[in-house]
């Protein structure tokens, strides 16, 4: 019963996310609305962590396999991708490294700056 109840809550929130996607005019997917709802519900205590955590942790653990069908879908988009393959590959790889480095270093810089400020105060 525990898992059934948890799964029900998660599916209910996913469904509310779908409803919001239908009603609101923004290009935001149901999953992101659902994520926001889940966070607010946990934050306000409407849902307790123990109401969803076992099933939720399981779903997150198996999440990588959910991307396999989309990845294998490259087989069908290969024809459109092929003519632009070289520039697109270069841009994709370089820009991914840049984004990861910039956002990571900027975050780290501010985290450490604030940590040092705290230490100086004390």
């Amino acid at each position: 019963m525990k898992y059934l109840r948890q799964f029900l809550i998660i599916i209910a929130i996913s469904f509310i996310g779908e409803v919001l996607k239908e009603l609101l005019p923004f290009p935001v997917p149901a999953s992101i609305y659902g994520m926001l709802i889940m966070f607010v519900a946990l934050f306000t205590g409407v849902i307790k962590l123990s109401d969803v955590s076992d099933t939720g942790d399981f779903l997150i653990e198996i999440m990588p396999i959910m991307f396999i069908p989309a990845g294998a879908g490259l087989i069908d988009s290969w024809a459109v991708l092929k003519p632009v393959l070289l520039p697109v590959s270069v841009i994709t790889i370089i820009s991914t490294v840049i984004v990861m480095t910039v956002s990571g270093r900027v975050t780290q810089f501010i985290v450490r700056y604030q940590k040092n400020k705290l230490i100086d105060k004390q």
């Binding site: 396999i65 991307f67 490259l74 910039v102 985290v111």
Partner: protein, 230 residues
Amino acid sequence: MNNFLSNSVFFGVFLSLTGYGIGLFIKKKLNLALFNPLLIAIIIVIAVLKVTGISYNNYNEGAKYISYLLTPATVCLSIPLYRQIAILKKDFKAIAVGIISGVLSSMGSVLAMSIIFGLTHEQYVTLLPKSITTAIGMGVSEELGGIVTITVAIIIITGVIGNIIASPVCKLFHITEPVAIGIGIGSSAHAVGTTKAFEIGETEGAMSSLSIAVSGLVTVIIASVFAGFY
């Protein structure tokens, strides 16, 4: 036999899980970032489909039930985030500025390289949402007049690349704070990267999850501005 496999509901799921299982096994044997279980699974699925001649649609007839779980799983990403709420509150400024810097550097680098490679405007806007989650990226690409199928392919490839390079890049550029690692991975490689962030640690995973939602939403707001630059 082939006819039967084309109609089987469980074949697609079985093939995907087996591919991932083999991927995990290879990763364990050869501990190299390049041997990424997700990448190996995708290659195995494509190879099997090519060899047997089973169409992607027939494979997806069963495999779509795995993809079906993606929305509820994404909803659940708020659970680890809530567990890390103390960090979210403490480092709020760093997290917010970090994610925004990620969005700007993503679109800025795509803009610069599109100019260098002389891409068309259509190709440029197709690439623009490459670092954000598929569902939002598709919407952005469509709205800007990009080619949605290519955008989807590039978003997936970006995620897989981010998943593979996350550890080496963080090591190379001395990104060691768990919060910073999570923001870096989530901002650059969305949900596919986030699965890697969870392998590194709970804080990393939670921060990466947060980046998926926030960078996606920020991109929706400023992508049209960037689309006007080239």
